[in-house]
Amino acid sequence: MAVDTAAGRSSRTLSGSLGTRLRRFGEISREVLRNPTTLIGLLLIVGMVAMALFAPLLIEPNTPNPYQMPRDWGALNEPPGTPGHILGTTQQGGDVLYGVIWGARTSLRLSLIVVSVTVVIGLIVGSLAGFVGGKVDELLMRLVDVFLSIPELIFALAIAAVLGPSFGNIILALAAVFWVKYARIIRGQVIHIKQNEYVDAARVIGDSKLRIYMKDVLPNSITPVVVQATLDMGNVVLIGATLSFIGLAEAGLAEWGVLVSQGQAGISAGRWWASTFPGLMVFLWALAFNLLGDGFRDILDPRTESKR
């Protein structure tokens, strides 16, 4: 059930001449900025990405590895407002603000890598299935079905579990789980185009499959892929943080899920800060990308337009 994306049904495409495309892009941007919820999402994203990019300037990077939380065995469990630790410290003396800022950087890395990789894999698999068709299509779609039959988090959990606790393995696990949606989108597009009349016309003219692909499949797919990718930028971090929370990231990583997990032990003693602030960041990140992604979907998908 593809309740989530509008694969194959979007007519608000970016196909056409370059001029048309740019104009469309301008229109879309304006609509994005006009919608309050989407705007909020965009602003949040800009804010957090800026925080991630400027992290080394905002707070002194830890040596030798800035992605590791600094440890100060003499300043354990300080509450917020302690001089030098505006958001407090963790049970290993790590500055919570450091975790918040560098955690943004970690999240940006994670989401960019996973989303790019999964889009590419999905593109390849989906195109293969759609174009080649027949047995290959059957096989690949069965594979997709099998992957979809295992709930996402549990699948990622199992993969990360057997690979071992590390950030790299979390990336692998998420990539292995998230590619399927893109494969479906692209395949749907390819099949839709194949069935479409004017492609037969193009073939009559002699356009090669590759040209059809570049001219029609890709531009038509961009919309649902963009919507999905935007949503995934948020969801990857959400599920990634959940995996780290459960304990599958490496020790001492400056990552929001790790920090929330570490902070749990102090809650019964009233130490709320080590979990609350990093967790809030996960929420804001996922929220921002969800708002933007939903906004894109509303704008780009005519079917949902009628609901406004």
Partner: protein, 337 residues
Amino acid sequence: MQIRDYVLRRLMVLPILIIGTSLIVFTLTRIGGSPIGIYLSHEMTQDEVAEIEERYGLDQPLPVQYLTWAGGMITGDWGWSGVAAAPVRQVFPNKLGATLELAVAAGVVAVALGIGLGTYGGSRRDRLPDHLTRVFSISGAAMPIFWFGILLLIVFWVGLGWAPIGRSNSNLFQSIAHPTGLYTVDALLAGNWSAFVDAVWHLLLPAVTLGFGTTAIITRMMRSSLVETLSEEYVDAARAKGLPEKLVLRRHARRNALIPTVTVIGLSFGFLLQGTVVVEIIFRWPGLGRWMADAVLRGDQATIMAYVMFTSVLFLMVNLVVDVTYAYLDRRVVLGA
């Protein structure tokens, strides 16, 4: 096509999917990780390690191991759980009962609140209540369950001192029999009111946490379906007939709005299932999710495999039921109205 044919086709594909899943799960645990690690103690000689390998069949060639395991899954031998120090099959039912109770409670919360809020917002379209419910429903999808649960703990458990963690008070729990494995139901069956209250009291925070995301999704679906339906022609016709607004809402709009909602409810099952892992960790709930988390951290492959297979099969079957139901309802709507 005929509903019957559709159902049959889906049913025939089901075993293939299950086998495919089992192959993936099995391969995963053999290419990475160390299936034997959980059974070792930290000071064993190589000979002793070899003996343990033999005991658990880990010295066999991989295809044999797979067949033994897969066969065991069907016949009821689900391996030995290192984390629980007992056969998986023996420990499973109790933990399942705990998780089931939690998931059902969360589902009840989500459905009740979701339909209610969605109707409330959808019927007052574009006014303040609508905007508020929209914000709520969007934030629900983005909410990290582990954070929300911890927030609730901080506010209600540590701050206000309401609502305990864990599943029950051990004295009350041991005072009743447990025919179903669901504490609430067992307490009612035993006629033990304080045990029932104890059960519900412990269920409260975890169920709200687990159900939060689903509530938001249902709210949103309900709201948008309602809005869409309210603008349909035949509703206008009903209004034109002079029916009071409330009746219009109840009789026509809500019914049609329920169809996509039903689909979402089925889909949310997957989210509820996955959410239990985190919620059970935070609230110290002795269910399947927590067991899986321990298994994952400690490398207990037998438990991991059993859990993934179980949840996948369940997920597949629920999806099947949902798809069939949807096709059934959808077809009649197209034909009927």
